[in-house]
């Protein structure tokens, strides 16, 4: 057995850094804590790459397939005789892949933030939170069991909450952080119920046991517990609810656009590359269970993914805040990944969707982090989030411009950039198993190209806006990560994912299917062309188009009024129709009843009190008449 115990350090280093900078951060120079965080992350990145290389190549026996192995495990809590919560490190293709993604993006963001956050009062705090997040995310990725995943899932949620609300003096940031936390918390409730059901049925939390083809989970197939679905299907749907909340799937997506209130590096790290794909990762983790015993749950995953991607793409076409456009784009791309998992089968070439989903996760992390960091550089230069305040920036921000363009081309799926490969695999997988979803995704591919280039042209071309300060290129700490990520976005598509990350650990043959690839490239180009025509120069055509769609445009612009529905549900229904009556009921009915008892006793005491008036003559009267009565009774009547 090859010793991987050192992987324990991967999550522990950020944790130690978090404790250190969190407790002592305000005592040292801001930059020191930033450098400590970055150095820690550098070590983590090195370890992760080392692990990946060892796991995928040097320690791998040719042709044997990749198995999962537990590098480390300790008991954390003992629940019942059968259920024990462990903490540990699990290595298998997807966790190692995620390790690379998380550490790379996190490292880039750490470097980038040295420039971006410079001078901010909460610099040390920012790095402490970043380390906390990285710790939690790595713990989630390396979880050996579903409960450990849940633990870190919550920790990830809270660090996301802390980072979204980083500018805590801004009410909108506070509201956004609250919203993000509560919505995902609600989803996590589903996750928890799912875990409860799953663990009860299978008596284990352990991933290796759960996904093993002879494991207890597989024995649960079939049967109909409720509404025609089996118990385990329901359990997995609930688990997926947790994933959908974290991954901002429709209809639990509403927190993601608001989460853009956080600092831009945070959006890049958490809300684009890592945390939001946790849902995908969760489904991928349990994929054998989904695929073998609960195909119905997998259909749910596929459709939720498909609908989300279309929904988000439409909204993205109408938004003007660049970070929100990117947020909807993220949601749309995650929809892709979910869909890929949802349409996938298990084993061999059937598992193409699985591979494609993970592949897309990987490439998406690169180009979306790049887009966000680019957007950060733009915001850094312009001090605005709104694309209407921008235009003609290509002259001022050459590096940002180039890297941003690369990212846009990648997401539009043009060969030979990485986005093309991963997206193509997804479309192929959908094409072979589910036609309606394929059509949706095909349309989304065009929309994606359109709105990304709308964004691109609005920022870098279009009108020549006059700025108060001449925008200048970001410092090297910010541009270097952009370049590195651009490199990743361009070349990560050539990674042989079909050999590395597959549903059953065995490599299979994958090739480009031209029947799907060519139309998808064409529709991408079509989207780019339309965007070019409309937005490269200032023109009235966007407004015309918007008018042409009429109320549909208005709906999309208002995000289909999802926020309003939620607001209605929370403010009106929960606050006014549940919480307020409960509070009233408690004060007036329950407490009123208690007070009533007290009042009745007091009244009766008041009545009796008259007898004990303190008036001596009354006492005397009672005494005399009492004596008389007693004498009559005992002397005469007895």
């Amino acid at each position: 057995m090859i010793d991987y115990t050192y992987t324990l350090l991967i999550p522990l280093i950020p944790f130690v850094v978090f404790l250190f900078t969190g407790l002592a951060g305000h005592k040292m120079k801001p930059m020191t804590s930033g450098l400590i965080g970055t150095t820690g992350l550098f070590a983590v990145t090195i370890l992760s790459y080392l692990t990946a290389i060892r796991y995928f190549w040097t320690d791998h026996v040719e042709g044997a397939g990749y198995s999962s192995l537990k590098a480390f495990e300790i008991q954390w809590l003992h629940l019942t005789e059968k259920l024990t919560i462990n903490l540990g490190v699990l290595l298998d293709p997807i966790s190692v892949m995620m390790l690379v993604v998380v550490s790379t993006v996190s490292f880039m963001v750490h470097i980038y933030s040295l420039g971006y956050m410079k001078g901010d009062t909460g610099f040390a705090r920012f790095y402490a939170f970043l380390s906390l997040f990285t710790f939690a995310m790595l713990g989630l990725v390396l979880a050996t069991n579903i409960f450990q995943m849940y633990i870190f899932w919550e920790l990830v949620g809270v660090s996301s909450f802390l980072l979204i609300g980083f500018y805590y003096e801004k009410p909108s940031a506070v509201a956004a952080s609250k919203k993000a936390f509560i919505v995902t918390r609600f989803a996590d409730l589903g996750f928890l119920i799912g875990i409860l059901m799953l663990s009860f049925m299978t008596d284990t939390f352990d991933f290796q046991t759960l996904v093993s083809p002879t494991g207890p989970a597989m024995a649960q197939a079939g049967g109909a517990a409720f509404l025609g679905l089996s118990g385990i299907t329901w359990a997995l749907i609930f688990v997926f609810m947790g994933g959908a909340g974290k991954s901002a799937m429709f209809p639990l997506h509403i927190w993601l656009p608001d989460a853009m209130e956080g600092p831009t590096p945070v959006s890049a790290l958490i809300h684009a590359a890592t945390m939001v794909v946790a849902g995908v990762y969760l489904v991928a983790r349990l994929f054998p269970v989904y695929s073998m015993v609960a195909p119905d749950a997998l259909h749910v995953v596929a459709w939720v993914g498909g609908i989300s991607s279309l929904f988000a793409a439409i909204i993205a076409c109408t938004q003007t805040d660049i970070k929100r456009v990117l947020a909807y784009s993220t949601m749309s791309q995650i929809g892709y990944m979910m869909l890929a998992l949802g349409v996938s089968g298990y084993g061999g070439h059937d598992g193409l969707g699985f591979m494609a989903g993970n592949f897309h996760l990987f490439t998406h992390a690169m180009f979306k982090a790049l887009l966000f960091l680019g957007a950060g550089a733009i915001i850094h230069a312009v001090h605005s989030n709104d694309m209407r305040d921008m235009g003609g920036l290509r002259k001022y921000l050459p590096i940002t411009h180039i890297t941003f363009l690369i990212a846009c081309l990648t997401i539009a799926g043009l060969p030979p950039l990485s986005g093309f490969f991963s997206k193509d695999e997804i479309l192929v997988a959908a094409f072979h198993s589910n036609m309606p979803l394929f059509i949706i995704e095909f349309a989304v591919a065009g929309l994606t190209a359109f709105y990304m280039f709308r964004l691109y042209y609005s920022i870098f071309w279009g009108k020549d806006t006059h700025y108060h300060h001449t925008p200048h290129e970001a410092p090297a700490t910010m541009t270097i990560p952009l370049l590195i990520l651009a490199f990743g976005a361009v070349f990560s598509g050539f990674l042989p994912f079909h050999e590395l990350v597959t549903s059953d650990g065995l490599p299979f043959e994958a090739h480009i299917e031209y029947a799907v690839a060519i139309p998808s490239v064409l529709i991408g180009i079509l989207g780019i062309v339309i965007a070019t025509l409309m937005y490269r120069k200032v023109s009235t055509s966007p407004a015309k188009l918007a008018n042409g769609f009429g109320s549909f445009y208005t709906w999309a612009y208002h995000k289909f009024y999802m926020d309003e529905v939620y607001l209605f549900m929370t403010k009106k229904v929960i606050f006014n129709y549940i919480s307020r009556p409960v509070a009233w009921f408690d004060r007036h009915i329950v407490d009123g009843f208690m007070n009533l008892i007290a009042h009745v006793i007091e009244r009766s005491a008041y009545l009796i009190k008259g007898f004990q008036s303190g008036r001596i003559q009354q006492y005397g009267y009672v005494f005399v008449s009492g004596t008389i009565v007693l004498v009559i009774i005992f002397v005469y009547l007895w």
């Binding site: 809590l77 003992h78 003096e169 509560i182 663990s199 929960i574 606050f575 409960v582």
Partner: protein
């Protein structure tokens, strides 16, 4: 000298010492020394206990001591601890210690205040070490009665009303409890005829089922009132709102735990048959408590009310778990008691400190406090996160253990209630974040707040002690959980002897 008796003796000696102190400084130093010794003693007890268990001592109760106290009723001063009581004693030690430092600046009648506070602590410690039902009850009353003075004299707002309400409702509980305990006493020896108050001896026999049916509700509700059982919880919001800081801490932190502990130790342990039969009624009530308390907290505007309702919800979860009656749920209940004790004490300490600075507890009058008092703000957020069950802090461990324990029941009724109870974690998040958002974050609402100071050393000491305890349980729960688990075995055995099937009710 038995180590357990020290737990009662030291507070008493401290109170005596306080009588002879001359000014505020001496008084608080005396109390701080006394309660620090108490805390150290609690730590030593945990250590000794674990050692003893390690050495293979499998007796149900350790460090027992028994002295006949009142022969004609066979009342003993009988003490002894198992893992559960040791855990509760450790909790009490921590909370009392923190409470002393939280009331460091009590200027009005300092001596009397600390004496009452320590008297209350004496009662609580005594309760947890007793295994004689009568002494237990005695200490229970000792703990409850100083509360009246503490709220009535040192409280704020409608303090007389609250003190009266709290005391009367708790006394009502005691009255029910007394009936229950007397009943247990008179049915404690069906064969030998020598009646006993001793918990262990009673547990060896079976009280006749007819009597159990009658006595269980008395005992359970009697303890339940102290444990904020719906609908007998209304003393809690008013009482907490009026009580001074340290009293709220002690009250919510440990005194309410007397209810849960008693319900578990006496009601369930001694009358398992009736408990199985009647659990469903109380389960419904406690599930209501859990959800209802959480929803009630959303609408409140006073920090202490919010916390009081949150306590209703969390303590409801304790009773809920106790009634689920299996090992995991019991374990969860005990951890939840400890966890809630720590975090609610922390909350009340913080609220007291904030109130001491801003002179208001209305959240809509405050805002942006994080900027002016970062230390208190951060600790408040930590307390809030513990309360909403963040992994790594104690609340999570407790809640998860409870939910998994409760989910062991296979029937629809229990499942449904469990899922209902789990929804409370979302609602908890809502009200905690609402408070944090309004109170600490956002812009500073009042210029007057700009001049406020952050925590003083004693406040830091008080809060850090609690935070450390919360984090310790949250990060490494296994030792605590194992310590409790071992002690649960006799109780679970006794319960499993009853052949009652819940489903037969329907």
């Amino acid at each position: 000298m038995n180590i357990l008796s020290l737990f009662v003796l030291i507070p008493v000696l401290t109170s005596v010492a306080i009588v002879f102190t001359k000014n505020m400084k001496q008084t608080r130093v005396a109390s701080a020394i006394g309660m620090s010794i108490q805390l150290i003693l609690a730590a030593i007890l945990v250590f000794l206990y674990l050692n003893e268990r390690q050495a293979g001592n499998t007796a149900e109760m350790l460090f027992t001591y028994d002295a006949l106290w009142f022969p004609s009723l066979n009342i003993h001063y009988a003490v002894g601890v198992d893992g559960i009581s040791v855990a509760m004693i450790a909790l009490t030690g921590v909370v009392v210690f923190a409470g002393i430092f939280a009331s460091w600046n009590m200027e009005f009648l300092t001596r009397e205040f600390f004496i009452s506070l320590i008297l209350l602590a004496t009662g609580v410690f005594g309760f947890f070490i007793s295994i004689d039902l009568f002494t237990m009850f005695l200490f229970y009353e000792v703990a409850v009665i100083p509360m009246y003075l503490l709220i009535g004299i040192w409280g704020s707002g409608p303090k007389e009303y609250s003190a009266m309400k709290l005391t009367l409702m708790l006394m009502g509980g005691s009255a029910l409890l007394m009936v229950g305990l007397l009943g247990i006493y008179f049915y404690s020896a069906p064969e030998t005829g020598i009646l006993t108050w001793n918990l262990l001896e009673i547990s060896k026999i079976n009280i006749p089922i007819e009597m159990q049916r009658f006595l269980f509700p008395f005992t359970f509700i009697g303890f339940g009132i102290l444990g904020a059982l719906f609908p007998f919880h209304t003393w809690s919001p008013d009482g907490h709102a009026s009580a001074p800081t340290a009293v709220s801490m002690l009250h919510a932190g440990v005194l309410m735990k007397l209810g849960g502990y008693g319900a578990f130790r006496v009601a369930i342990f001694l009358m398992p048959d009736a408990a199985q039969e009647q659990a469903w009624i109380f389960l419904i009530l406690t599930s209501i408590s859990v959800v209802y308390g959480a929803f009630g907290a959303i609408w409140q505007k006073d920090l202490k009310y919010i916390n009081a309702y949150s306590s209703v919800s969390h303590c409801g979860l304790v009773l809920f778990a106790v009634l689920m009656m299996n090992q995991t749920a019991f374990n969860g209940a005990i951890i939840q008691m400890i966890s809630h004790g720590l975090m609610t004490a922390l909350f009340f300490a913080l609220i007291g400190m904030i109130y001491g600075r801003t002179h208001t507890r209305m959240i809509n009058e405050m805002g942006g406090l994080m900027k002016v008092m970062p230390f208190l703000g951060v600790v408040y957020v930590i307390a809030g996160l513990a309360s909403l069950g963040l992994p790594g802090l104690s609340g999570f461990v407790a809640e998860m253990t409870i939910f998994f324990g409760a989910f062991q029941h296979t029937d629809f009724f229990h499942r449904f209630l469990t899922i209902m109870a789990t929804t409370s974690i979302v609602v908890t998040a809502v009200y905690i974040l609402r408070v944090v958002g309004i109170l600490l974050l956002g812009p500073i609402k009042n210029d007057h707040f700009l001049h406020l100071e952050d925590a003083k050393w004693h406040e830091r000491l008080s809060t850090i002690t609690l935070v450390l305890a919360i984090a310790a349980i949250g990060i490494a729960p296994l030792w605590l959980s194992d310590m409790i688990n071992v002690s649960l075995a006799p109780i679970v055995n006794k319960i499993s002897m009853t052949g009652f099937e819940f489903t037969s009710l329907f």
